[in-house]
Symmetry: C2
Subunit: 433 residues, 2 copies
Amino acid sequence: MSTGVTLSSAPPRGMRDMLPEETALRDWATAQLVATYQRFGFARIETPALENIANLRGGEGGENLKLIFEVLKRGDKLDKALADRTVERDELADLGLRFDLTVPLVRFYAANQANLPNPFKAIQIGSVWRAESPQQGRYRQFTQCDIDTFGIKSEVVEMELIQATSEALMALDFRDFNVRLNDRRILIALAEHCGVPAGAFDNVFIQIDKLDKIGLSGVRQELLSNGHATKVVELLLSFLEGATTSKKSAKGFEASLPPNAPEEVVNALRNVLKAIEKVADGRYSICFDPTLVRGMGYYTGQIFEISAKGSAHSIAGGGRYDKMVGKMTGRDVPACGFSIGFERIISILAERSVQAPGVGERIALLFDAERDPLDEVMVQAKNLRKEHIVSLQPKKKEMRKQLDALMNGGYAAYSVFKPGQSGLEIKKLEQSS
Amino acid sequence: MSTGVTLSSAPPRGMRDMLPEETALRDWATAQLVATYQRFGFARIETPALENIANLRGGEGGENLKLIFEVLKRGDKLDKALADRTVERDELADLGLRFDLTVPLVRFYAANQANLPNPFKAIQIGSVWRAESPQQGRYRQFTQCDIDTFGIKSEVVEMELIQATSEALMALDFRDFNVRLNDRRILIALAEHCGVPAGAFDNVFIQIDKLDKIGLSGVRQELLSNGHATKVVELLLSFLEGATTSKKSAKGFEASLPPNAPEEVVNALRNVLKAIEKVADGRYSICFDPTLVRGMGYYTGQIFEISAKGSAHSIAGGGRYDKMVGKMTGRDVPACGFSIGFERIISILAERSVQAPGVGERIALLFDAERDPLDEVMVQAKNLRKEHIVSLQPKKKEMRKQLDALMNGGYAAYSVFKPGQSGLEIKKLEQSS
């Protein structure tokens, strides 16, 4: 390394190293999720971490578009960009790190459609990157875990996604969680019914989305200060008030609907509520929630979120986005996805002190690095390895200290190599007194 | 998406989408490798994909330093860099994508040493990025699979790494491969013995490294045209000639050594040859190869490579690098690693038509999306899923065509939902005649 350069051993700001114990927990959780999804016929795919910058900037990523890590052009292209002294920052990059798994999935489907089954059911588990100001619990590289189905219009897809995601959460020992269900078209009907002008729908939805945090009076204030007419606001509020108190299961959820809700939308909601209530069989719950909004602009139909018991934060979210493939290929394809908040799941598991099941009993084989015949040491280790996890370690002078270190390092037992012996004695590690 | 923007559905140049079948093969191979390494006491860790750019540029990455994907600064920092009209390209980036897993591992070890066991034995499987001109089989994002041991000086580490990597390859059905072994200090002794001037060692090693490809006469020519003295070249050549024809196993490898080879280096080589011959037990072979060089400048001791049977390309490579941690922390730590060429392994497996073992029998449950009660469909699917992988699909008008598509999509059987029935008949899918 060049002299005078001070290297930092810290990972980049907002990013993390994963030590063996955390990696084991993440690997175990990943395996549980994948195994569950596979039973529903989903299969894992992968896309590159980088996408052409135009694809990322051109998407409907909302706030995420401001958070893209952009990759500098290389070679002649960069020379050319820099030689132009009026260079704009937009012209310096040609690639960017993906900020979610949905934009890449739609590109993947457009590129590979001819070689994919129909319906296409994908599992994606991978890193995404966002240049957020690092806050507690928010990282600049984090894992997302999505399932998506392309090619089926029927709400059976919503049912399957909700059921599969719920079963996946149960495989990670989550219990008694609640699925909240709504439909973008219900929100639109509500806005129309209350007299919101066409261009102001999104702004109204953004305020409704805050209901959990700021309550009814807070939403009223926000709506008014955003310039919505008092009459409109009062109509909206009376609806929201009714919605938060009325019955929300398959029987009776209609009381929470705006009167102009389209019949086929209501029927599909009823079907999903009914089917999930049946397959959940009391192990988790589902309710209709007309105040559920979800941030992304690309949703076209049902939307859903799962909250863990006793937590306001959602641990999974998704919905239908039937128009996104069409924007890339010119031909719409029905699409629906559900994403588990992998990092939140892992922190909850860690808080609960959940540990990944071990891979077997670990044994240290101690030997004298100066004197022992190493080929014999290796043969003995090979024999032990048939039944145990075996790690070779040179004997240290202070045996007791070394044994304590082994025990703290998760070893269950040790053995000391003795030349010429056919079998080795395995001794349990016990805390020195 | 903005009007007029043409989005490309292709992944970025030199990068790939992984379809379900290839992903399944990669996941299976990964699981085999990890399970094997775990038996040797290695544990998986992860580092971020991005590193501070100074750490990447400051390393001993050789040619790879020219191939870094650099990430543009953001916000005020970028404004500041661009406002300066004499901006250098080096000042535009603050982060870069890792080009290997060794530089991040050394940083990881330096940062987390206090919380890691000693010895520390790491498995890393992850993507790395290099902006190479895309050629056949060379990708700009590819997977590396490394094991490394920190904290033990004894050559038992080399033995364990070679044995673990060989067992991992056998778990992927590689047979009869050959491990080639050398030591950087043998190369240095050879150069000294032949009278190569101190500053010209690396150039000589680079030419020797080409022996496989251009033969003895080619190496002679290269050495001469690189300005080495005829006398030096002839001495080197006579040694190389002897080395390529002499016996190379534990018994007799000394004939291939330069006369000034240090005794402890020779003893360690003998120990490794002897131990691996024993544990290999005829299933694979090991030989001393004094012409083995390996590209990276950071190696300080033994180096090794594995070639698949009938292939000139290596499928794994590694060596000892005892000085790299010290360059970051000021205190040297013994370190040794072995890396499997994951992409090469996967292409060889794909060429051999190896497929990942299936996850179970896949069954399609067909239903009428307009008329069937979807809650009953879901309950039936749930029952079937106790024993099968079940995917729901709306019935299509042309049943025969749909069944053929299911069979081509890897389904083993199907069932047609009938309302009110308690059990469903499962029918095997058979090719229509």
